[in-house]
């Protein structure tokens, strides 16, 4: 009890609010669910009639809830990958292989003092991280994670994404201006200049793709790329993909374009004066942005949730297990299979290594059994449900790109601000225009040769 009281006392105001509101909201949601289930017919009818409302609420909740764990995962990945590239071990104390360190960082950030400097514009100073985080999370809504798994299938999805993603710069500018610190100011202005410059090649590089796809809906673009991997747009738009990748790196403020928080020049840029959960918002937003950018690259150029190959339908095993027909056998299976399997799996370890105590062998067997069953369940779901397979492919590809971003951060030094701007205006912009013209010309030529 005292430990709980002590921890409570250490929380800042923001932390106390968060720790109060989150359980309350959870309780409220549960209560609502119960009410719907019990009193339900008219409510269910109403919701069924207005499916968009349910979809919106669920999507918003899911996106908000998953943004933080995915940020945790990417932060951990960044710490670990860069450490391994630096010939270090990196986080290895909290959780298995240190994987909970970023969670602990998140808790630490909640407990730190929420400090705002003398002379800062309090309101703007507080709002800035919210704007940044919000814009990062809102972009997640239109990204197609899997067939039927997306927040909204807008017909202007890409436009929405660029528009809302561009809001980040407003937040950064607010942070830089309101901090009452010249380092922050320089950081904020740098980010404004950088994002505004890179927005143009970023958008232009996709226009060629849009000509090919004929739609702005990310879902439709992904569907267009189904089939074997040579249907992906990266093979029709290699230059566009490269430009998009570079510009997206700059958009997400990642190395080598992380000038807004160049720690060796302008201490931490716009985040210099931030601490506590406000800094946490910036931090999470950055990594959510990384995920969004990776997902966008995958959705646009690398086939989204499509597998890189298709196999004939007759190769797919049909696992139509009718659980209801098994009767008493199911009960026996549920009761008997786990203990027997655990014993069977732990036996070789106990027999093979005489120094191993029986209980450790049992634990190993238990873990092995769970792994096997988990893999079996995931495999079954992968085969049976389209959306699970899509989600797995999408996340796999996305995290490959996240890894690439982290890898670049571990390798490259930072460019200078004038080189950054020169690169955008002198190289990327002409190159993206060239890409656009070549694509348009090719389309015209194809149409002349082979009229529809």
């Amino acid at each position: 009890m005292t430990a709980v009281a002590r921890s409570w006392g250490r929380l800042t105001l923001a932390g106390k609010i968060v720790f109060t509101i989150v359980p309350l909201l959870l309780l409220l949601g549960l209560g609502l669910l119960v009410v719907v289930l019990i009193a339900g017919k008219p409510i269910v009818d109403f919701l069924a009639a207005n499916m968009w409302l349910v979809r919106f609420v669920v999507a918003a909740t899911v996106v908000l809830l998953m943004s933080v764990p995915s940020a945790f995962l990417i932060i951990y990945m960044e710490m670990k990958v860069i450490a391994l590239m630096n010939l270090r071990i990196g986080p290895d104390r909290v959780g298995p292989f240190g994987s909970l360190l970023s969670v602990v960082h998140g808790l630490k950030v909640l407990m730190k003092e929420d400090f705002s400097p003398t002379g800062a514009d309090r309101v703007v100073f507080t709002l800035a991280p919210v704007v940044v985080y919000m814009s990062a999370v809102m972009t997640l809504l239109v990204i197609p994670f899997a067939p039927t798994v997306f927040g909204a299938d807008m017909n202007i999805g890409l436009l929405y994404l660029f528009g809302v993603g561009g809001l980040t710069v407003v937040g950064l500018l607010m942070a830089g201006w309101s901090s009452f610190n010249k380092y922050s100011l320089i950081g904020g202005l740098r980010s404004a200049a950088q994002v505004v410059s890179y927005e143009i090649p970023l958008t232009l590089s996709v226009v060629g793709l849009l000509l090919l796809a004929g739609t702005m809906s990310l879902n439709q673009i992904t569907i267009n790329q189904s089939g074997w991997f040579w249907n992906w747009y990266v093979f029709q738009q290699p230059l566009g993909a490269l430009i998009f990748f570079i510009a997206a790196t700059a958009e997400a403020n990642r190395t080598p374009f992380d000038l807004t928080e160049a720690d060796s020049e302008i201490v931490a840029g716009f985040a210099t004066e931030y601490s506590g959960m406000r800094f946490g918002f910036f931090f999470f937003a950055e990594y959510v942005n990384v995920f969004v950018v990776s997902g966008l690259i995958v959705a646009l150029f690398f086939g989204g949730w499509n597998a890189p190959f298709t196999w004939p339908a007759e190769w797919t095993p049909h696992l139509a297990i009718d659980l209801g027909s098994m009767g008493l056998g199911l009960l026996f299976a549920i009761l008997l299979v786990p203990p027997i399997a655990i014993l069977a799996l732990s036996a070789p370890f106990y027999v093979g290594r005489s120094s191993l105590p029986w209980w450790q062998a049992l634990i190993i067997g238990f873990i092995l059994f769970n792994l096997i069953v988990g893999a079996a369940v995931v495999g079954w779901a992968f085969i049976s449900w389209d959306w699970v397979a899509g989600l797995i492919w999408f996340l796999l590809k996305s995290y490959l790109f996240v890894f690439t971003f982290v890898w670049m951060r571990g390798t490259l030094p930072r460019v200078r601000i004038d080189q950054l701007m020169g690169f955008a205006w002198k190289w990327l912009l002409p190159a993206s225009l060239l890409n656009l013209f070549v694509t348009a010309a090719a389309l015209v030529v194809v149409r002349i040769i082979k009229p529809a």
């Binding site: 071990i89 390798t411 490259l412």
Partner: protein, 234 residues
């Protein structure tokens, strides 16, 4: 650069990816501890000699040299002369001066050593020859010496230490352990050597002090402490 632009970046990325899989250089400290080299000087500790006795002579050179005055010491020195109660750093200078002088090889006004009686060493040499200069027979040597001189003069112990190679403190310890060995001549026993010793002692005092003054007159920069005014004497 006439080469393909971006090739260097790709090479660097290749290097980091290769390093990603290479063995790591981290030492997981609390579980794995690096062996410090045998000559490592980072740890402050007092050294012991092969008899398990502290080597520290309380010369205060370390305390004097320590730039941040983190070294201090207390206790008594090995000669039993100074009893130091965690002395103030300001007084180190005097003690250090004395210690440095003693180590420099010049004659030092050492009150503990200036007054021990000279002996005629021939008899002792004969005893040591008889025992083959073997420190294992220390008790027998000491008993024979006492039989010869009537007691154990400091000069004799010094000589035994020098000839046999046994450490002075060990001989001293042996001598103090046995009740029948004594350091002062008994009042009622007159040995043939006692009278000779007394005259030699008087002669030595005068010559030593004269030589001391002469040697100290040449050295400048240090003031000689008045005899008997040793610092921090308990």
């Amino acid at each position: 650069m006439s080469r393909l632009p971006g090739l260097g970046i790709v090479k660097g990325m290749g290097l980091t990816l290769r390093r990603f899989f290479e063995p790591k250089a981290t030492i997981r400290y609390p579980e794995v501890r690096v062996d410090v080299p045998p000559k490592f000087r980072g740890r402050l500790q007092l050294l012991y000699d092969e008899w398990g006795t502290l080597k520290c002579e309380t010369c205060f050179q370390c305390a004097q040299a320590c730039p941040i005055e983190c070294i201090d010491m207390g206790g008594i020195d090995t000669k039993g002369r100074y009893h130091i109660h965690w002395g103030a750093p300001e007084t180190y200078g005097e003690r250090r001066e004395e210690s440095a002088l003693r180590r420099s090889g010049r004659p030092v006004p050492d009150t503990a050593y200036a007054h021990f009686d000279p002996i005629h060493p021939e008899a002792l040499e004969a005893i040591l020859d008889r025992y083959d200069h073997d420190p294992k027979d220390m008790l027998a040597i000491l008993e024979a010496t006492q039989a010869e001189y009537g007691h154990l003069p400091v000069a004799a112990l010094k000589l035994i230490s020098q000839r046999t190679g046994a450490w002075y403190a060990m001989i001293y310890g042996t001598a103090t352990y046995y009740r029948h060995l004594r350091f002062e001549p008994p009042a009622d026993v007159a040995t043939p050597l006692a009278a000779a010793t007394a005259t030699a002692r008087a002669a030595r005092e005068t010559t030593f002090l004269a030589g001391l003054d002469a040697s100290l007159a040449g050295s400048s920069g240090t003031t000689r402490a008045a005899p008997g005014a040793g610092p921090a004497r308990a």
